[in-house]
């Protein structure tokens, strides 16, 4: 008697409790549908379009299977040089960001008191609230021939790098720095202070402790941060058009192919390059075993 009432009272919960698969289905259907549509279908559409062609008279996409776009992207010298330049910029930005993020994150996680720590986390996050364009254009101002940068380095005989690849590297390093600091900071937070004490206690000088204890433990976090800065740089085309002078990156080629040239299939083929590169990068990272500890 009492069993029936209690069953009735919790009928929905009890029913779901007994049907684990249904519970899972209700939980995951909507997000899986979204994931499938946004990630898989969109990516597949891109992949497929790369093998189509454009009617040279009407300018419309024709479903006619061809490898021409892929061949063009792989062999045309403009694609080759832009790809090399983009990968070079992405690597440089990643290295600069890691070198800047490590000491900042270490200070935040291990040196600063709780109040300063909170203030620094907010300070690192705040630039993410500002518009990308505002930040890129402010760097354009800073790096202009009469800008802040020139004013700062002129007394020591320097001058502004002007608009070009160095300016692009500086701007992109600035833009992605928070994405590199945060995972490294989170990784450092998980390293107990006693490990640093223990290393020092066993006779290791500070630099030795950094090399033998801190960096090995931080490796997964550094890799996570580098994936952000590397892939974000690979896909960027706005910063370079604002501070990069006449230089182009892969994103610009995609953009012009979609817009001015009205050649969506070729744009799709060009967009496959960064995807291929990031996959190679992830495979290389996997081989080092850095992802095993994530």
């Amino acid at each position: 008697m009492s069993a029936t009432t209690s069953t009735r009272r919790h009928s929905v919960s009890a029913f779901l409790f007994e049907h684990a698969r249904l519970r899972l289905a209700l939980l995951l259907t909507a997000p899986l549908f979204w994931l499938g549509l946004v990630y898989i279908v969109a990516l597949a559409a891109l992949l497929v379009t790369a093998f189509w062609t454009v009617d040279s008279f009407t300018g419309e996409v024709r479903i006619e299977w061809t490898l021409d776009n892929i061949v063009t992207v792989l062999t045309a010298s403009v694609y080759q040089s832009v790809t090399l330049r983009t990968v070079g910029i992405a690597l440089l930005v990643t290295v600069i960001d890691i070198l800047l993020a490590l000491p900042i994150a270490f200070f935040m996680a291990k040196v600063a008191g709780p109040r300063l720590q909170r203030a620094l986390v907010i300070a690192v996050l705040t630039p993410l609230w500002a518009s990308y364009l505002v930040k890129a254009y402010s760097w354009r101002t800073v790096l202009s021939p009469e800008g802040l940068f020139a004013w700062l380095v002129e007394p020591i005989g320097g001058s502004s790098p002007g608009y070009g690849i160095p300016a692009t590297v500086i701007t992109l390093s600035y833009l992605w720095l928070p994405y590199v600091i945060l995972p490294i900071y989170a990784g450092l937070e998980r390293v107990p202070d006693s490990l640093l004490d223990a290393s020092s206690d066993l006779g290791a000088k500070p630099w030795r402790t950094v090399r033998s204890v801190v960096l090995p433990l931080l490796y997964p976090a550094v890799i996570a941060g580098s994936i952000f800065s590397f892939s974000l740089t690979l896909g960027d085309y706005i910063a370079v058009s604002i501070v990069g002078g006449a230089n182009q990156m892969l994103g610009n080629l995609v953009y012009t192919n979609v817009g001015t040239a009205n050649n969506l299939p070729l744009a799709a083929a060009a967009a496959l390059i960064p995807i291929a590169i990031i996959m190679v990068y992830l495979a290389a990272v996997r081989r080092t075993g850095a992802l095993d500890n994530l």
């Binding site: 107990p192 006693s194 490990l195 004490d197 223990a198 290393s199 020092s200 206690d201 066993l202 006779g203 290791a204 000088k205 030795r208 033998s212 204890v213 090995p216 433990l217």
Partner: protein
């Protein structure tokens, strides 16, 4: 006479507005098993960290074998530490953990592996060198931490509540092993604990810490038998404290006295010991090896009595509540906590 292993003079440490260590003077002899005992926040761990060099004192000096190391970095001090959380490096194998100190000193690969293996065998973990620390139990990690700290053959080993995370049986076993290890190495052990029983059973000498100061310093027997303050009397073991009007009424002397529960006997009628006080049994707690009896004295004091031998029938514990008894003790069992009053009332 050789210099003490550790010599602390006027040691102070402030964290912001909090004074963690408030003027500690201490000499620890070579080869001594020395315990720093106190409740959490009493400053004992901070003193240990100051000796290791992880913290810089606000004032005062630290000498190691007569050499001033107050501002020497931890990696240049000839002491090693066993941490409360063991602090084993998770990315290194057990053998690499033990060999770490030898590695940073530049010892060759083969030699350091050899010595690390010996150290692991010394703590009965010979076959565990290839494992990760995460694959070991708490007691095994504890022994790896010991091996890692002792493989460097330091002159002083600092132990920060090393047994705190272990269960009772393992803790008792590790206490025996620690004592044996200290004897075989012949080096100074400085052992921080909040467990008074651990401090009493292991140590040659004990310093009882309270509020950043050493409240009392002495052998375990001195600390237990002759506590010099109310804090020591009640923190180290249990004490009945007789003071004020109660002391005047029961002992005929004003002042503060400590009386250990196991020194008191209970009887139906006075048997002629030095002092007797009548009261009513309020509670009986069965302890296995004996029982603890709480007696409400007519004089207005609650007295804790420990009976080791079962003088009365154990089955009748509950029936004892409310029984009238006479509590008796000898004058020599009273410890004056008030220096102004002579020890014997």
């Amino acid at each position: 006479m050789s210099a003490p292993a550790i010599s602390l003079r006027g040691l102070r440490k402030e964290f912001g507005s909090v004074t963690a260590v408030d003027g500690v003077d201490l000499d620890i002899a070579q080869g001594e098993f020395f315990s720093m005992l106190g409740p959490s926040g009493s400053g004992k761990t901070t003193v240990l960290r100051l000796i290791a060099g992880f913290e810089q004192p606000t004032a005062g000096t630290i000498e190691l074998f007569g050499e001033d190391v107050t501002s020497t970095a931890p990696f240049d001090r000839d002491v090693n530490t066993v941490f409360q959380d063991y602090a084993l490096f998770p990315h290194l194998s057990v053998l690499e953990n033990v060999a770490y100190g030898l590695r940073v000193r530049g010892m060759g690969k083969r030699e350091r592996a050899e010595r690390a293996r010996e150290a692991l065998e010394g703590v009965r973990l010979g076959g565990y060198g290839d494992r990760r620390p995460s694959a070991l139990s708490g007691g095994q990690r504890q022994r790896v931490a010991l091996a890692r700290a002792t493989v460097l053959r330091p002159k002083v080993l600092l132990l920060d509540e090393p047994l705190g995370a272990l269960d009772l049986k393992l803790r008792e076993q590790m206490q025996v092993e620690l004592k044996q290890l200290q004897r075989s190495l012949g080096i100074t052990f400085i052992f921080v604990t909040h467990d008074q029983e651990e401090a009493l059973t292991l140590s040659d000498r004990v310093a009882v810490f309270n509020d950043g100061r050493i409240e009392q310093l002495g052998t375990p027997a001195e600390i237990y038998e002759r506590p010099q303050s109310r804090f020591v009397a009640t923190f180290v073991g249990t004490s009945n404290v007789l003071e004020g009007a109660v002391a005047a009424q029961l002992l005929g002397v004003p002042g503060t006295f400590a009386l250990r529960p196991e020194r008191i006997t209970l009887a139906d009628a006075p048997t002629g010991r030095d002092r007797a006080a009548s009261g009513t049994i309020a509670e009986v707690v069965y302890l296995g090896t004996g029982r603890r009896i709480i007696v409400d004295l007519d004089a207005g004091l609650q007295l804790t009595v420990l009976e080791h031998t079962l003088g009365r029938d154990a089955a009748s514990d509950a029936a004892l509540r409310g029984t009238r008894v006479v509590a008796e003790w000898s004058d020599r069992d009273l410890v004056a906590l008030d220096a102004a009053v002579p020890v014997t009332p």
